[in-house]
């Protein structure tokens, strides 16, 4: 390549780049930022919504619940995603719409006679103050404690309920996926673990030999998560301020309708609308 040719190519590349930086002609754009737990669900919903509503573009960005709340307030985003309840301060300025619930339940092997554990009992098991199943009406066997890997949303929900730090937990098995926890319980009947309630319910229904343990006197069912009585849960919220655009409003209506329930279930969350 001669020098002149090279320069000409370079110039073409630069002008192409500059041209492509210009704003395109687009219709309505709805920007959502926030919770990394909710973002994958909304991405899926957005894809289907865009196909059904040509001209509308849904931009989903993650970054954490607090970021979603801050962006909804500052106007950086049209809607914020927050996988926690709003503080009183935030609730004064924003409206939260619950689109789903994230429930976590404790699972043991189907052959384990234990079917209910209180919050205090769970704390003593997960901090290894109690180490034998017979203390809880089970067989004389050492409890194998399965914990989730750092960063998992189920870990956050579970430890928040117990009021523990991850450093307080003394685990025998640390795994990442819900299905790995279930596999551990199936492989060793003395294992205790916790998983997303949607996963546990569908696995148990499918014949996997696991049992969903009641907590705080409430049965671990998706119904009890939806009606808010099950204790180990958190809301998946979309927040908006007073200045929501019509396009964002329409998308919010879609998010709070039952039309997205199949996608919510596919992500092992519990539909509430």
């Amino acid at each position: 390549m001669s020098k002149l040719q090279f320069l000409r190519n370079l110039a073409a590349l630069v002008s192409l780049t500059v041209a492509s930086c210009g704003k395109k002609e687009t219709g309505a754009v709805v920007v959502l930022t926030g919770s990394s737990t909710i973002a994958p669900v909304i991405s899926d919903v957005a894809k289907r919504y865009e196909a059904a509503n040509p001209g509308v573009r849904i931009e989903v960005q993650s970054g954490g619940s607090s970021r979603g709340i801050a962006d909804a307030l500052s106007g950086t985003a049209d809607l914020g995603m927050a996988s926690r309840a709003l503080s009183a301060d935030e609730a004064a300025k924003l409206t939260a719409h619950r689109i789903a619930a994230d429930g976590v339940c404790v699972v043991v092997h189907r052959d384990n006679p234990v079917s209910e554990l209180s919050r205090e009992q769970l704390i003593s098991i997960y901090t290894k103050k109690a180490t034998n199943w017979k203390d809880f009406g089970g067989p004389d066997a050492t409890i194998v404690v399965a914990n989730k890997a750092e960063g998992r949303s189920t870990l956050e929900v579970f430890l928040h309920y117990l009021g523990l730090d991850n450093a307080d937990v003394k685990a025998d098995v640390v795994v990442g996926e819900n299905l790995h926890v279930i596999n551990s319980v199936v492989a060793n009947p003395n294992t205790i673990g916790y998983v997303s309630i949607g996963t546990a319910a569908s696995e148990a229904k499918g014949g996997t030999p696991i049992k969903l343990v009641s907590t705080g006197g409430v049965a671990a069912t998706t119904e009890n998560v939806a009606n808010g009585t099950f204790p180990i849960t958190r809301p998946l919220n979309i927040v908006e301020d007073a200045l929501t655009s019509p396009a964002a409003k329409a998308f919010l209506d879609h998010l709070t309708s039952p039309a997205i329930n199949d996608i919510i279930q596919k992500h092992f969350f519990v539909p509430v609308n």
């Binding site: 780049t17 492509s20 930086c21 210009g22 704003k23 395109k24 990394s36 737990t37 973002a39 994958p40 669900v41 991405s43 899926d44 931009e59 989903v60 960005q61 993650s62 970054g63 950086t76 960063g151 998992r152 949303s153 990442g176 996926e177 819900n178 299905l179 997303s196 996963t199 596919k266 992500h267 092992f268």
Partner: protein, 292 residues
Amino acid sequence: MPSVSKPAARRASFRWLDRSFAVAGGMAALVSFGLFAWLIRDLVRLGMPRISWEFLTAEVADAGRSGGIGPVLVSSVLILVCCLGLAIPLGTGCALWLAEYARRGSVPARLVTGGVDLLASVPSIVFGLFGMVFFGQTLRMGFSILSGGLTLACMILPMLVRTTLSALEALPADLRPAAAGLGMTRSTTIAKVLLPAALPGIVIGVTLGIGRALSETAALIFTSGYSTRWPETLSDSGRALSVHIYDLALNVANGGPMASSSALVLLALILVVNSAAVTLSERWLLKRHQTS
């Protein structure tokens, strides 16, 4: 006779020490290689079954649990191009100024090197937040491939400056007076003599920078973003491979298998881009050798 046995014993202990050094070194090498081999084996075992042309080119579906990684791959490459497009000229320029123009030990030179070294110790999440505010909000680039690439450029800049600078400083000191003696101007000396001679060092810097840029997650979540759409322009948001892996591994239930496959692709991509950089520079050097 104690006077004879003493040096003999010392010799024996030296020999023992010698041998244990060799053994310890060999063990360290074995462990290093073993860890690498284990990692590759696991990645291939978990990730290989889903790798196909379809996987590399198809759209992301079902939050990443099915479909492929086509748009993510394209975004990653575009982010890298933006990053290197800014970082290479800026880093080389900065190193040239430090090595050839600035007086060694002068206040401006010390300020620049100090600043660059300080930049090298900044955690990547800080670059991410800086990029979000500076490129995203102040320069109004929003969530875009450009804003992600430029943020990465800031991040790998210190690495490029340092390696280029040490390559320039390691050149034989006679080169400069010799070039001057031939009547070459300073800029010609730099362009025709010093930079080509320092090229291997620069390439090492670029290679390290590519590795770091492609594996970066924290700096990109807030800048190039999360969108898995096919990027049409550089002002579109585009998810990088590392962000995709992170999201699948942590936020998407049962995303683990696809995360492994994507990680395998990322590893292959780094290998391909790095060897391309090395091959290009070697070929270029060879060509210069033959023509001059």
